[in-house]
């Protein structure tokens, strides 16, 4: 598996905070969990209405998703399994050549 399967179980989720309170809460939890922010590039850019795409590792996803459900912040899972997406990035031919 590419990258030693390190992204297995990781997810990418999309959140768009509807209020400044939601944005503030998200920024706090992003800092706490030290998420990999895909967009925007900086946590400081997150505010009301900002589309945020977050890569969360498997061991942090439960904490983040529980927080989002409790705070009633809507989210959408963009990539369910990041390792699969990494593998699918390269065509079958490229994967075959690598093997």
């Amino acid at each position: 598996h590419p990258y030693d399967n390190r992204y297995a179980g990781d997810k990418v989720i999309r959140l768009t905070p509807k209020t400044e309170e939601e944005a503030f809460a998200l920024k706090n939890i992003y800092h706490r969990l030290q998420v990999d922010l895909w967009q925007p590039s900086s946590i400081s850019c997150v505010s009301e209405g900002t589309v945020t795409d977050v890569h969360i590792p498997q061991n942090a996803s439960r904490t983040l998703l529980a927080f989002l459900q409790e705070a009633r912040i809507q989210y959408k899972v963009l990539i369910e399994d990041l390792q699969k997406a990494v593998e699918n990035e390269k065509s079958l031919q490229t994967q075959r050549n690598r093997r």
Partner: protein, 309 residues
């Protein structure tokens, strides 16, 4: 040969550099490859000069890709551009005019250390790979390290953050090497294009502040036409506008620096997609992404050659 290299797959840094050297040897009339310095980890920083060689004064367009390591579609496009330019020089009057009247300076991978690291260790690495003496974290955001409102809004002073601006402007040897080159050739270089992913946007200055550039009617119109040309290929929708409004405020980036240093047309492309794959754009989408982007880049370049109304 040009036709044997596969432009529809992502290539390692070594592959890309070998490809550049191959072009240098096989296309002497239109290609010159040279180095402008070395990266933090000692890798050469290669530039492809594309254009009919001439002793006469020629204006130039600068194109860089791979400022952020994980944005692989950028370097893929830079390679595609070179291929398309060389393949269509004889058959496409517009391309022939461009290569006869201009030089293109193409840097397929600016952040060579980061790109290599994203291939070998961490697919989602963004920054350079420079070390920090006081912190365990490595790397500087190569698009926050330029001397234009450096380390202000949208950048971070903390070395462990992904938007770390660095200990001082142009601290990164890669950034300094490019800045030195652009300063040296500032009078000839009329356009600066930087390729990133992902958001499907064509941006122009300013990024560091909410203000309008003096030549907005020219630059904005060029962006509008470029996006329209891009859309004509596959219907892909791109937004366009000043980066601070269209995307977000960020200080210390290369596009703003290029503009401030006298390059009148400065753009940043955020290529496909808008989130379905993000940085992991599948290889099968390289071709449509690059063919539509070519239309935008050619449109901007022709606009530049005609001069702004």
């Amino acid at each position: 040969s040009l036709s044997e290299y596969n432009y529809e797959v992502y290539h390692s840094l070594e592959d890309i550099q070998n490809w550049m050297h191959h072009l240098n040897q096989t296309q002497p009339g239109l290609v010159r490859v040279f180095s402008i310095g070395r990266s933090y980890e000692g890798r050469p920083l290669f530039i492809l000069q594309l254009g009919r060689k001439s002793r006469a004064y020629k204006r130039a367009v600068w194109i860089d890709c791979g400022i952020h390591a994980r944005e692989w579609i950028g370097p893929a496009f830079c390679q595609w551009f070179a291929r398309d330019a060389l393949l269509t020089y004889k058959t496409d009057p517009a391309m022939r005019k461009m290569l006869n009247h201009l030089y293109f300076y193409i840097m397929p991978v600016l952040n060579v250390d980061g790109y290599h690291f994203s291939w070998t260790h961490d697919r989602f690495w963004r920054k350079t790979r420079s070390r920090n003496s006081r912190f365990r974290c490595r790397g500087v955001d190569a698009n926050r390290n330029w001397k234009v409102k450096w380390c202000d809004e949208g950048a971070s002073a903390h070395p462990c953050d992904d938007t770390y601006c660095g200990p001082f402007p142009e601290s990164e040897p890669e950034v300094k090497a490019v800045a030195d080159f652009l300063r040296k050739h500032r009078k000839r270089i009329r356009a600066y294009l930087s390729f990133h992913a992902y958001a499907q946007m064509l941006l122009y200055p300013y990024s560091y502040k909410h203000a309008t550039i003096p030549n907005v009617s020219c630059v904005g119109f060029a962006a509008h036409k470029a996006v329209k040309a891009l859309r004509s290929a596959h219907g892909t929708q791109y937004r366009h506008g000043p980066a601070s409004q269209t995307l977000y405020v960020s200080s210390g980036n290369s596009m703003d620096w290029a503009y401030k240093n006298g390059i009148p047309y400065a753009f940043a492309f955020e290529l496909r997609d808008t989130g379905q794959f993000g940085f992991l754009l599948p290889e099968k989408l390289i071709k449509p992404t690059c063919t539509e982007t070519m239309l935008a880049v050619k449109n901007i370049t022709m606009h530049l050659l005609r001069k702004c109304p």
